[in-house]
């Protein structure tokens, strides 16, 4: 009896194998592109807000949280006091795609998109400057615009014009 069982189980296993004949699940990467899930963590990029302006406000939270200390930036200030990164570099020969910067970023500027494998001849070429990091899009978050929520005034947004803000108080009034 056990002989028959053994044979039938062998047959079942063989059938499972034979069933796969003709199907391919191996992607011949890199010749063929990968279909990555949307939450894939590739290399970080800097995104833009829905108005097309750069999102990053140079708060340095990403560089503070980065465990490999591979992000380095210097804040700049526009004439209307809007903060932006004057320089922003990431050393991709050190980045480990951990996603902590994305998690720390309060403006959703830095996002880990799908590029994950890239090679260079020199280590130094892995240092990406802002031009190489900033993309022309909103990335995974199409609607968020930090400056509409914050209380600071900008060229195109006066006090009280932000989301959920009252008009500025009249400090000259002593009326109750």
């Amino acid at each position: 009896m056990s002989v028959w069982r053994n044979i039938s189980e062998l047959g079942a296993g063989l059938w499972t194998t034979l069933r796969q004949l003709g199907r391919t699940s191996t992607v011949s990467y890199p010749e063929e592109p990968l279909n990555l899930p949307p939450r894939w963590r590739g290399r970080p990029v800097l995104t833009r807000d829905p108005d097309g302006d750069e999102r990053c406000v140079a708060c340095q939270l990403c560089s503070a949280v980065c465990p490999t200390r591979c992000i380095e930036l210097q804040a700049g200030e526009r004439p209307d006091t809007r903060r932006y990164p004057l320089t922003f570099r990431i050393n991709f020969s050190r980045c480990i795609y951990c996603g902590l910067c994305e998690e720390a970023c309060p403006t959703l500027a830095i996002q880990l998109l799908d590029e994950f494998a890239f090679s260079k001849e020199h280590h130094a070429d892995f240092i990406y400057e802002k031009e190489a990091l900033l993309i022309d899009g909103t990335g995974k978050h199409p609607h968020y615009n930090f400056y509409r929520h914050s209380g600071v005034a900008l060229q195109d947004k006066d006090k009280g014009e932000g989301i959920n803000e009252k008009t500025p108080v009249n400090v000259r009034s002593n009326l109750p």
Partner: protein, 765 residues
């Protein structure tokens, strides 16, 4: 007897008179008590209701109750608790109330990372805002180039007004509006007028007031390199914490030193630092005005020194170490050396040193009879701040000056011509203004009073009660250190050697003998006899521009050194950062990446003077002798190396005694009909500070200040070294017959404060 109370079962020691919060903070046990409106230097107000603690009574008759720690006087055996639910709920709910209208600003708020409000919010566990309605907003004010306002972030703790109006006694800042619409600022937009306005940045626990200069080159505090330093902008020697990143200096914050500056700094100390980042700062050696290489300049200088016809000139602007290094080199070469640029300044320094031990600013703040001579605020602002603290305690202030300064408006003002100051000071011992006090203090601006006035001050002090103290101030950080090894007549001997062509080369350290230093007029007339002048300095001065060789040196936060302040307190500062050329874009990949992130090193900034002097001694084969002398002098002046984190060490009185016999230069007699010169300065003015753009933009216009009864638009002053033409600025606060000009003016004329001067007035242009 040791006094203690108990906070959550832990013993907290206190001094009678302290409140519970103060004692808990002093003991480093404030993690359990969040607070906002209390400030160690401003006291309690009880406005924020944040510092709740639960107090258990000694008996069981009264139930325990919640009370404010900052308003509760500490008493022995008090049992306080914060770890119970109702206290914690109170903490969390109060902070939620304060945060109701708080904007979502942290990412763009310069306070972030050093924000008391952030810390307290995290500490109390308030993480979700229940209020979702619209938030109150304010329009900001433009408060000038130093302080940035973002009014939305206010939590109405009133620290700012309490500092500005009560502590700094400024008049152009206050609170406006009513109920939950109060706002803190000026009546109208415009620069804050107080010389202490920058402290708002540190006093405000939120990001309402932030540093506007830092803002333009901002970096989060966690990325700053910081360390202990000493302010190099006047003789007070306030303790500072410079912050730098990527090889450039970004800001200066206060470092608490109870004996001197306490919790505060003046605006010069806080905002003059851009001298270290200014575009005009020399960073490369220059030979004949052209950029050159280190060794070329050193070789040139060594060959000059080998000729044996060099003189050496130190400076009260440089630290003790470097001056001693120069002195030691001069000594090795048997060359003439002077520490200051004129005999008058030499006599001034010696008379300052001859004064008995000066009071610390902490002691000044405790004085009850104060006489101020000259415009103290414009020379040593924090000394003026200490006087204000004494005034708050009810001290009686008398100001002797040739113009009604801001301080004079707060006390009895005696308008006096500079030449009358000396006699007035000599008579002060019997003056009613000093009678009846416990602790009289006399504070003089040394240059206004002059050497003979300082001598009179010393004699007056001998007649006053033994606890009376006097201090003299200059706007140089190390006059007292530089002068210690300057014997009588050094400067005259150096100038004489030049006149007699015994020397034809001058090696200067941090001095500006051809620009604005005292006696520059004389140096200019002697300059044709110089074949070459070498300067070691960190600012692009007049002398730097005409020097044969210019050797750049490290700025003070970039090196270690010693300053001797007006009390004779030797304070050490240590290097905080290394100056590096900031690479804003790595055009060549990799060259701009910081070391921390695996990049390459940037070219380093200039080394300190001692390094250059050592190299020079090596090239002259004198290194061993030089080092031995340097160590000897250093050990003589400062047997015990002060710790940069400590309060410094006071020079022994025996060293002071050497100067009591110093010769006094003759003073010129002035008749009442003659015009008399006084020095005009403003609180932000000083050689290094003048290269700081933001601060300097507040500088008053250059001109000749006289009482408005003079009808003229301009005037030419005639002095022994040249003429000076300046526009007339009518100034109602001035005494008649006195003309106030800046130090450059004195340098051009070859005159000194209190000298008579010939004037030709011009009625129209």
């Amino acid at each position: 007897m040791k006094h203690v109370f108990f906070l959550d079962g832990q013993e907290i020691p206190f001094i009678p008179g302290q409140n519970v919060l103060e004692a808990a903070i002093a003991a480093g046990k404030d993690q359990q008590i969040p607070y906002f409106c209390f400030h160690p230097a401003l006291g309690s107000l009880g406005a924020c209701r944040q510092c709740a603690v639960k107090m258990y009574s000694h008996d069981s008759k009264h139930p325990p109750r919640i009370t404010m720690a900052c308003l509760l006087p500490a008493s022995d055996g008090l049992q306080l608790v914060t770890l119970e639910d109702d206290v914690h709920t109170e903490h969390r709910e109060i902070i939620e109330l304060l945060m109701t209208n708080h904007p979502l600003d942290c990412p763009v708020c310069d306070e972030g990372g050093q924000c008391h409000l952030q810390d307290m919010t995290v500490q109390t566990g308030h993480s979700v805002r229940h209020y979702s309605g619209p938030k109150r907003t304010y329009r900001n004010q433009d408060l000038g180039p130093l302080v940035y306002q973002e009014m939305n972030r206010c939590i109405t703790c009133y620290r700012c007004v309490r500092f500005y109006q009560d502590a700094a006694q400024g008049e152009d800042f206050g609170v406006f509006g009513s109920r939950n619409r109060v706002s803190f600022g000026r009546l109208e937009d415009g620069p804050l007028e107080s010389p202490f306005s920058g402290n708002l940045v540190e006093v405000c626990p939120t990001g309402v007031f932030t540093d506007k200069v830092f803002r333009h080159d901002y970096v989060r505090v966690w990325d700053l390199q910081q360390g202990p330093s000493v302010c190099p902008h006047c003789a007070v020697g306030c303790n500072t914490t410079p912050g730098a990143r990527l090889g450039t200096l970004r800001r200066i914050r206060n470092r608490i030193r109870p004996e001197i500056n306490g919790h505060f700094l003046c605006d010069r100390g806080r905002y003059a630092f851009p001298y270290a980042t200014a575009n005009s700062r020399p960073l490369q050696p220059r030979l004949q005005g052209e950029p050159s290489r280190q060794d070329a300049v050193l070789r040139q200088l060594a060959s000059r020194l080998e000729e044996g016809r060099s003189g050496f000139l130190g400076s009260p602007r440089e630290d003790l170490h470097s001056n001693l290094g120069l002195f030691a080199l001069a000594d090795c070469l048997h060359a003439p050396f002077a520490a200051v640029t004129s005999s008058w300044a030499e006599a001034l320094a010696q008379q300052c040193l001859a004064l008995p031990q000066a009071p610390s600013l902490q002691e000044v703040a405790a004085a009850d009879r104060i006489v101020v001579i000259g415009d103290l605020d414009s020379i040593a602002p924090m000394a003026g701040f200490a006087v204000r603290q004494a005034l708050r305690q009810g001290a009686r202030l008398t100001v002797l000056a040739s113009s009604r300064t801001e301080l004079a408006q707060k006390g009895d003002y005696r308008p006096l011509r500079p030449s009358a100051l000396r006699d007035q000071v000599a008579r002060l011992a019997d003056d009613p203004c000093l009678q009846g006090g416990r602790f009289p203090v006399l504070l003089a601006t040394a240059e206004t009073l002059g050497p003979s006035g300082l001598y009179a001050l010393r004699k007056t002090l001998e007649k006053l009660p033994a606890n009376a103290r006097a201090g003299a101030f200059v706007n140089r950080p190390n006059l007292f250190g530089a002068a210690y090894f300057a014997a009588d007549g050094h400067t005259e001997r150096l100038q004489q050697a030049l006149r007699q062509r015994k020397i034809n080369h001058l090696l200067c350290l941090g001095a500006d003998p051809l620009g604005e230093d005292w006696g520059a007029g004389t140096w200019r007339t002697l300059a044709p006899g110089l074949d070459g002048l070498t300067l070691l300095d960190m600012v692009d001065s007049e002398t730097a521009r005409s020097a044969e060789a210019l050797i750049p040196v490290a700025a003070f936060p970039e090196r270690a050194g010693l300053f001797v302040n007006y009390e004779g307190r030797i304070q050490a500062f240590s290097p905080v950062y290394r100056r590096e050329a900031q690479v804003l874009h790595s055009a060549v990949h990799g060259s701009g990446f910081p070391e921390a992130a695996g990049g390459l090193k940037h070219p380093l900034g200039p080394p300190p003077p001692l390094f250059w002097l050592g190299r020079l001694a090596e090239m002259l084969h004198l290194h061993e002798a030089w080092q031995k002398r340097l160590d000897f002098y250093l050990h003589f002046l400062c047997p015990e190396q002060p710790d940069p984190e400590g309060p410094g060490v006071l020079l022994p009185d025996t060293i002071r005694a050497r100067f009591e016999i110093a010769a006094l230069p003759a003073t010129r007699a002035v008749t009442p009909e003659q015009w008399e010169l006084d020095i005009f300065r403003w609180y932000g003015g000083e050689t290094l500070a003048d290269t700081a753009d933001e601060l300097h933009s507040l500088a008053p216009a250059r001109g000749l200040r006289v009482h408005p009864d003079v009808q003229a638009v301009a005037a030419t002053l005639h002095g022994p070294c040249g003429d000076l033409q300046l526009p007339v600025i009518a100034c109602a606060e001035m005494v008649q017959g006195v003309i106030a000009i800046d130090q450059e003016g004195f340098a051009e004329l070859g005159l000194y404060p209190g000298d008579p001067v010939e004037v030709s007035w011009e009625q129209s242009r």
